[in-house]
């Protein structure tokens, strides 16, 4: 059937359309040849190591150009046969070509890097941003006059004018003209010209193949149009997601099998990073005081811990002792911070749920720490924790003195060293984290509580349950999904402990590695020693631990709610 269709133009096809379709066929055939040629060139260059492109990237480019070539050839064939798939392929290829050329052109012309300059001039534009906001407010104000369409129209026009003027002035004030001049100066090599020409060609083809008459000539149905619109709407999101999320995610796994340092070509080392991280051994000791280096291979293992079972002492040796310390610290931190920021949050949320006046104000106050940057919060707490002049030790002394004077308790003021004592540093960080996350959890619990139907409580009251019984028989089980959500988010957050330690500990992860968390250890490896392969492996181990914890909590939630239903 296709042979005749190709020979005879469709009835609805005018000469103009036929011309454009022929142009598209020629273009796709030519483009396919171009891509095939460049693919072959890259394939040949695989053997030639003088071209400075990484092998992985080269293989990727070869695959990409071959795929593009084949698709383009298919597009040409389908269009010749007046098949709608040809139009779809053509639009996708031209759109991708357009986006790639545009992105690459902007890169070559220094637009992304030019954001630095914008950062410098941004302050001059602030008044005009404010003006634009005022314009928006005028429009919003005008929309309230629904009964007076004329007045509404006038407000809207005023709003648009102000916003337009503000936008223009803003662009001028942040240096649009200087930016354009700098842009034009970049046209000093053939590449920007080629790319700009590419943009134009792809745009023209997009416009031509996108024409309604072309669509009709290729028998495009409504569902095909919808597919194209869907892909078009999703494309900015999807392309960004692929480039900055999905690809790095896969790449992260690849890096974890290499000895990458981010700058030099990496070597494949297989599972070595993971092996080094996780390698532990347990050896029996002849007595609990025997030195570890008598039983451990000291070239590999460091003593991590020792324990005793049935009178026999054992020593645990680890190849990477710091990793295990960091894992332990992170888990200990979770055990401290998570319950203390979840259980009081539940209790406070039930108090806030009482129908007393002023509860909204309390909720607002409790949520306040969640708005502030952890870095800023940590700086405040650093001084609260100061052992000489800090408020926390001052409050402790006040309490101790009060107790002594009242009950003659004879307590001694502990004068804690908080952050500079390896016994209390992690506790101090956990305490601060509790303060910072409590309000967030309260708000989550409160919204969970408000969704529990009131008649359950009424039924419980009829059954003679007192408030405590009601709390455990109605509130806790009904709140199980919220509790699960709060627990998992708090745990996931706590497992990624970094910023607090970075600001509060001195030296980083100290004193004496007592606040070294997994992410801090990852940071040290990846961005201080630039052992990025090792850091990636640590990240994946952390991810698996987090995933396991979440799964564990999910199972528990499922089984406990199941018990309730039964």
């Amino acid at each position: 059937m296709t042979a005749t269709a190709a020979a005879l133009p469709h009835l609805s096809e005018d000469r103009h359309t036929t011309l454009w379709l022929n142009v598209a066929v020629l273009w796709h055939a030519g483009f396919a040849l171009l891509l095939a040629a460049s693919g072959i060139f890259l394939l040949v260059s695989l053997a030639d190591s003088t071209i400075p492109i990484a092998t992985g990237l080269r293989v990727f480019l070869i695959a990409l150009s071959l795929l593009g070539g084949v698709s383009s050839a298919c597009a040409a064939i389908f269009i010749t046969r007046r098949d709608q798939r040809g139009r779809m392929l053509s639009l996708v290829i031209n759109y991708l070509g357009f986006v790639v050329c545009l992105a690459f052109d902007l890169h070559i012309l220094g637009v992304y890097v030019g954001l630095d300059v914008l950062a410098g001039t941004f302050k001059y534009g602030l008044p005009f941003l404010l003006l634009g906001f005022i314009g928006y407010l005028i429009g919003a104000w005008g929309d309230r006059h629904e009964d007076f369409p004329q007045r509404q129209q006038a407000y809207r026009r005023l709003s648009q004018t102000i916003s337009l003027i503000a936008a223009g002035l803003w662009l001028l004030s942040v240096g649009l003209l200087e930016g354009l001049r700098a842009l034009l100066q970049q046209f000093n090599s053939p590449l920007p010209f080629i790319l700009t020409a590419g943009i134009a060609v792809f745009a023209v083809l997009l416009r031509a193949v996108g024409r309604r008459s072309v669509a009709e000539a290729l028998h495009t149905k409504r569902q095909h149009e919808e597919t194209l619109t869907g892909l078009l709407f999703l494309s900015p999101n999807l392309l960004g997601f692929l480039l900055f999320f999905a690809a790095p995610l896969l790449f992260s796994l690849l890096i974890s099998f290499t000895n990458s340092d981010a700058f030099n070509p990496p070597d494949w080392v297989g599972l070595q990073n993971y092996q080094h991280l996780l390698n532990v051994t347990i050896q029996p000791l002849s007595s609990s005081t025997q030195l570890a280096n008598e039983v451990l291979d000291v070239k590999i293992y460091n003593e991590l811990a020792r324990f005793e079972i049935l009178g026999q002492s054992y020593v645990i040796g680890a190849q990477d002792k710091l990793f295990w310390l960091a894992l332990r610290n992170t888990l200990v931190y979770c055990l401290m911070a998570v319950p203390v920021s979840v259980i009081p949050a539940l209790l406070l949320a039930t108090l806030l749920n009482s129908k007393l006046p002023g509860m909204k104000l309390f909720r607002a106050v409790y949520f306040l720490p969640s708005v502030a940057a952890i870095v800023g919060i940590a700086l405040i707490w650093q001084w609260l924790y100061n052992s000489a002049i800090g408020y926390i030790n001052y409050f402790i002394s006040l309490t101790v003195n009060f107790a002594n004077s009242l009950f003659n308790a004879g307590w001694v003021d502990p004068k804690l060293q908080w952050l500079s004592d390896s016994n209390s540093a992690l506790i101090a960080i956990a305490l601060m984290a509790v303060w910072a996350t409590l309000g967030f959890n309260i708000v989550l619990f409160l919204s969970g509580l408000q969704s529990i139907p009131r008649d359950l409580y009424e039924a419980a009251t009829v059954d003679g349950a007192n408030p405590t019984q009601q709390f455990f028989a109605v509130t806790v089980p009904m709140l199980a999904p919220t509790t699960f959500f709060v627990l998992t988010t708090t745990t996931i957050q706590a497992m990624q402990l970094f910023e607090q330690v970075f600001i509060l500990s001195n030296p980083l992860g100290g004193p004496n590695n007592s606040t070294l968390s997994l992410v801090v250890y990852l940071y040290q490896n990846g961005f201080q020693r630039f052992r990025q392969g090792y850091a990636s492996a640590t990240a994946w181990v952390l991810f698996i631990v987090i995933f396991g914890l979440t799964l564990f909590q999910y199972r528990r939630q499922r089984s406990s709610s199941g018990a309730y239903e039964g």
Binding site: Y112, V113, L115, D116, L118, A119, F122, T227, T229, G230, L231, F233, L234, P236, N237, L238, G240, F241, F244, F245, A246, P248, L249, F251, S252, I255, S260, L348, L351, A364, F367, L368, V371, A372, A373, I374, V375, G376, I377, L379, I380, W381, W383, I389, W435, F440, V443, L444, T489, I492, Q493, M495, F498, E499, V519, L522, A535, A539, L542, F543
Partner: protein, 406 residues
């Protein structure tokens, strides 16, 4: 009887609830209040123990015949507490006593006494088996030989109204007169010290562009997932959902290497462009759009409206609360982020610092002036707090609808 006791019980219960809630509220607010008041203190005032919340400063008074105003102290004069100015400090004085009447001591400047019998052969006296030097001390016009009990340093205080009236008192034991004050110039100082104005506008730019970019891509993507059918849509949506729970640390090394490859290390672009596309925002907008009745959309399509018009005229206005929620969430994330800027922006390149990075450098640079550090912290914390006060509802909603924490 019963209703009355019931009412009393309710009153007690309410009081208890309020007591708990108010104490927790104080606990929540205290660090912020401490930050604000400390940021207005002078450096000396921050190291006072016991700590005082409000900033205070020494009061000075002008004294006739003195070029500069002098600090006022509370001193005991004739059994009364008076405010005197410290004219001269660290005056060496001796405490002298007559060996026969050791309980009565006299305080004299070292220059006002002379060795008994001359400097060459000073007389001594035996006190408790020890030989002690004797000094001529003038008491009421009489010169009495006395022994020196100890030496000390005092200050000379004068009455500001009557500079002739002077007393000598130990400076360290005297309470300086202080009044409440505020040093807003700390903010000026920290801005100059750490380029905080530049990092503030950088943070504004980054946050602004990330919010605008993320709203745009999320609206478009959310609409496609909610309303446009295309092959693979559901599978793609499941992939998007699955990636929401992946922790950022997994991405940090590959993203860094990507930035190295495209030359964005140390550039503001690296703080903006990678963060314009999120699965979470797309998911949130898809959930919002899917609640809009299909009939409205179909009617508009029949009327000849394009998809763009439908999205901008119907869907976006109908989901303003969700958009505002996503905007606040993104705002907080962008404004407060630290790990990524720390990794990607060089510590030395202060022109590209965001607020959190500036604070990190300031922490080391101003480690002995908490007032400056906390002024810096306030600069980073106050804008989101102000926005929170204005649009509290959306912040709370961004918390309850979040799958990820900010």
């Amino acid at each position: 009887m019963k209703p009355k006791s019931y009412r009393r019980l309710r009153f007690i219960r309410a009081t208890l609830i309020y007591a708990v809630l108010i104490s927790v509220a104080l606990f929540m607010l205290f660090p912020f209040i401490y930050m604000l008041t400390t940021s207005l203190k002078e450096p000396k005032d921050t190291f006072v123990y016991p700590p005082r919340l409000l900033p205070r400063q020494d009061v000075a008074a002008s004294i006739e015949g003195q070029p500069d105003p002098l600090p006022l102290y509370e001193v005991q004069v004739d059994g009364q507490t008076r405010q005197y100015a410290l004219v001269e400090s660290n005056i060496r004085v001796g405490i002298y006593a007559d060996p026969s009447k050791p309980a009565q001591t006299y305080e004299r400047r070292l220059t006002d006494v002379s060795p008994t019998g001359g400097a060459e052969n000073q007389q001594t006296v035996m006190v408790e088996g020890q030989a002690k030097k004797l000094w001529n001390v003038e008491v009421d016009g009489q010169i009495i030989p006395m022994t020196e009990v100890r030496q000390t340093a005092v200050g000379r205080f004068v009455d500001p109204q009557n500079p002739q009236a002077e007393v000598y008192r130990n400076v360290r034991l005297s309470q300086p007169v202080q009044n409440l004050t505020a040093h807003p110039e700390n903010y000026q100082e920290v801005v100059e010290l750490q380029n905080m104005d530049r990092s503030l506008t950088n943070t504004m730019l980054v946050t602004f562009l990330v919010v605008v970019g993320q709203l745009t891509t999320s609206i478009l993507g959310g609409y496609a997932f909610a309303r446009l059918k295309f092959p693979g849509r559901n599978a793609l949506f499941v992939i998007y959902l699955g990636t929401i729970m992946i922790p950022f640390v997994v991405l940090i090394t590959p993203l860094y290497q990507l930035m190295v490859a495209i030359g964005w290390v140390d550039r503001v672009a690296s703080l903006i462009i990678p963060w314009m596309f999120t699965a979470y925002g797309t998911f949130l907008m898809r959930q919002a759009f899917i609640t809009i009745p299909k009939e409205i959309e179909e009617a508009a399509l029949i009327d000849g409206a394009s998809r763009w018009q439908i999205l901008l005229r119907i869907f976006v206005p109908a989901t303003v609360p969700s958009l505002a929620t996503l905007a606040t969430f993104t705002f907080l994330y962008a404004w407060n982020s630290f790990f990524w800027p720390l990794v990607i922006i060089n510590t030395g390149n202060e022109a590209n610092h965001v607020l959190t990075l500036s604070l990190n450098v300031l922490r080391g640079r101003a480690s002995d002036t908490p007032n400056l550090i906390l002024a810096g912290a306030a600069i980073s914390i106050i804008p989101p707090v102000l926005l929170y006060i204005l649009a509290q509802r959306f912040f709370v909603e961004s918390a309850t609808s979040s799958g990820v924490k900010g």
